[in-house]
Subunit: 261 residues, 2 copies
């Protein structure tokens, strides 16, 4: 069977389940490292910085992680906006938390609500009607509308809270259906940005995740091979109905052994 | 031609244009009154109470108005929720301003975020992520999801701000597409509630408005005759393309003279 040089790996549902550990994950990561594989954690979560995500993996899940091995939809969005910004276009109106703000600041953008070139909408637990109104008015005046990811929900201990996609949906409706460019999984852009970030070709990489409709379809969007692990959102019986199947399917990362790597 | 006993009349674009007067409107209303017609102002705006709307008409537009002749989407929503509430169902989680809150309070509902029977979403300039999250969680737990109206925007001096429908869109997306029952124009419910409120039959009433996609289609939804006046949103050239035409079309309310009344 084919062997891959690089693994793009989803986090929630794949490496951990919310605050709970997935015991097979740490061993899986260790096997990959032992074989000298490049690992990039690929998450739609835009609220945390890579440093914060790496700390959670290192401290809470015993998976020592370097921040540079974490690539969030915030980073992908900031890299994407940078890639399309003309000279002098450096003003961004953000609905989003520190992870997204910092990613944009690190790439030289100004965060402003006044005459922005771009409106970027991501998850933001502090968002208010006024924030949405400002974003909508700025898009009506010509700013480009970008969404970090289309997630309907953010699962937490209170339940399924509104996710980034829900905030994007408000702005989309209020602009009378201006279509945002959405970066995160299952869209191709986050994958293209991640390939660029790692300097890898698509056939060198395996995309690993628990969610058919985000992780696997993101891989498929760029013709990347995919590994679906049934420790999270997706169920075998549902995935069986999909016309385009993942390249590989396993019940636990334990099954991805020396032979596969 | 047919004469009508009662006129349901839209406000913004028909009786005034934002803060500007429409000179023909006061004379039109006076003619209707001289002929003893029943008038009901029918607006999707849920933020103001009938008292506040009547005051604006009386003071700013020289159209003396009794609050009981104003029927907002807030009143229609409260009347509708009352009509479907089982005994003991009196808890409502509201996203909405005072006009909506008071309409519900006046009908005996409790406003609460805890274990509501209904979640009602309307225009609310003070809405926050936390309000949306609470509404979404309550709908997931089984509360019925009601929207006051589907308006994309609220036009004001700053521009086209997000309207009630935009707030509804966020909640709809975050509940993974739970369909709200939406009361306001162009939906039939506000018309049915207004007919019930006035005690009139549909063939006694003419619906007057400037917006084909809200006023006219609301009338058509209950097979009510409609009069489109081109002083607001809709344009003759666009309406000409619609498969179902308004019963009557005029450029100014001045044209609706003694003969028509």
């Amino acid at each position: 069977m084919k062997h891959y040089d690089t693994y793009f790996i989803d986090l929630d549902g794949t490496i951990y389940q919310g605050k709970n550990r997935i015991p097979a994950a740490a061993a899986f990561i260790q096997r990959l490292k032992d074989h000298g594989k490049r690992i990039l954690y690929l998450t739609n979560n835009s609220t945390r910085t890579p440093e914060e995500v790496a700390q959670v993996l290192t401290k809470d899940h015993q998976i020592p992680t370097d921040p540079k091995d974490v690539y969030t939809s915030a980073l992908a969005t900031a890299d994407y906006v940078k890639s399309i910004a003309s000279t002098g276009q450096e003003r961004v109106n953000v609905i989003g938390e520190w992870g997204l703000q910092k990613a944009l600041l690190d790439r030289g953008f100004y965060l402003t609500t006044y005459q922005p070139d771009f409106v970027v909408v991501g998850m933001d637990m502090n968002a208010t009607y006024e924030d949405f109104a400002t974003a909508v008015l700025n898009i009506q005046r010509g700013a480009k509308f970008i969404g970090t990811n289309p997630d309907t929900n953010l699962p937490n201990e209170r339940g399924m809270l509104p996710g980034a996609g829900s905030l994007v949906a408000l702005v989309h409706y209020a602009t009378q259906a201006v279509e945002p460019i959405v970066v995160g999984k299952p869209h191709a852009l986050i994958m293209e940005m991640a390939l660029q970030y790692t300097g890898k070709q698509v056939d060198q990489v395996l995309m690993v995740g628990d969610n058919f409709h985000t992780d696997i379809q993101a891989g498929q969007a760029v013709e990347m091979d995919t590994l679906l692990v049934y420790t999270g959102v997706s169920k075998r019986s549902e995935v069986a109905k999909e016309s385009r199947q993942p390249t590989y399917q396993i019940d636990s990362l334990d099954e991805w052994d020396e032979e596969n790597i």
